[in-house]
């Protein structure tokens, strides 16, 4: 077992959602690293906001030093714990895919704003005009990447990366709103199946707080 004396103390602060912090939670779990899963309620947030550099969540504290921005956090942990490809080129591809995934979030976000009642709009119209085209555009690409990687249940290389976990969570979240949206992307679904079959992840998914996103 790894000595806990040498290990930094980790505290991950986020609202009570899976969101873009979930990939980092799963990196802690996969690596068997203790961390504080600090969930902040919407009521508490106004008073706490100025404690955090950018006034946004999630934020990771490493021995009290703050790292903001969800992908910077995920990349940091992936590097620390070995979920960042086997070499610099693989790492760069994982990063490139993560940036593409961020574009996907921007593209599909207006659908979620309507579907979750945050913004007025016709959910069915938003599904047809916003969500489904965004899924097709980005997941055609992710499906190709997974196939070109040898359909080995990873997007890059031959081991789990933070991008495998990120997509696995996206699929879960979106599928809960739009069942069957990923049926056209079997190689992507195979990555998700592999991630969720890891015993520690399976266990976490069963016991984690159940949230809409």
């Amino acid at each position: 077992p790894v000595s806990t004396l040498a290990m930094p103390s980790y505290k991950l602060s986020e609202f009570d959602t899976r969101g873009l912090a979930e990939v980092s939670r799963q990196l802690f779990i996969l690596s068997g690293t203790p961390y504080e899963d600090n969930r902040i309620s919407k009521d508490q947030w106004p008073a706490l906001k100025e404690k955090y550099g950018f006034g946004e969540l999630p934020v990771l504290e490493v021995d009290g030093k703050q790292i903001p921005q969800s992908l910077a956090i995920a990349r940091y942990l992936a590097k620390e714990f070995g979920f960042y490809g086997a070499n610099a080129f693989e790492a760069a591809w994982i990063d490139a895919l993560a940036d593409q995934a961020k574009d996907f979030i921007s593209d599909i976000h207006p659908y979620f704003a309507i579907a979750m009642g945050m913004v007025a709009g016709d959910t069915d119209k938003a599904k047809a005009e916003i969500a489904l085209p965004a899924i097709k555009k980005h997941f055609d690409l992710f499906e190709k990447v997974a196939k070109d990687n040898g359909s080995n249940s990873h997007f890059v290389g031959s081991n789990f990366s933070y991008f495998d976990i990120l997509i696995s969570e996206f699929v879960f979240s979106i599928d809960s709103f739009l069942p069957g949206s990923f049926d056209a992307f079997p190689t992507v679904l195979a990555v998700r199946a592999k991630v969720t079959s890891i015993p520690a992840i399976k266990e976490w998914i069963e016991k984690r707080p159940k949230t809409v996103t």
Partner: protein, 209 residues
Amino acid sequence: YLSLSNMPNYKLTYFEARGFAEVSRQLFHLSGTPYVDNRIQRERWGEFKSMTPFEKVPVLEIDGKVLPQSFAIARYIAREFGFAGRSNLEAAWIDAYADQFKDYLEYIRPFFKVAIGASQGDFEQLKKEFAEPNRDKFFGFLEKLAKDNGLNGHFVGDSLTWFDLLIADHILTMENFVPGFLDAFPAVLETREKIVNTPKLKEWIEKRP
């Protein structure tokens, strides 16, 4: 042609512009690494588009293997040549600020598109509505960062990083559209001055297309 070293062959493809490729070009120059600065005319983009993994440029070819996404490219080259901070923690801060910068670019986009002539619109109104408040927020963070870092000529750590280059280049772009755009951020401007006076960088800036 016999390679004189084990160095890979690098080819960076982008439009005839600084844009999202300039930081990577600067990293090659700063490290003294030969590379092909492949500039394509926008009118010819249709020919190349489907040959790129994400239908976007820049792309970097490393011995023929293609890498897309400007930040992934910049980070890759920065790591290879020592411009990504001195520790994993510094690298993470650079990544965090770079992503925050990307968010800021998204927020100012309605103004930016008009400023570069890609859309029609009211320059002054868009500047007030989108450029100024978002500038105040993001450059407010950078002003504090530069000061907290000791006004040592870098935003993070004590050596030149790809984030320094990213910001210095953006300031140039914004000052072209709005002279004095960052006058309220003296620590940022002081840091920028030191960055662009780095000898190899100064040389590139003077001679680049």
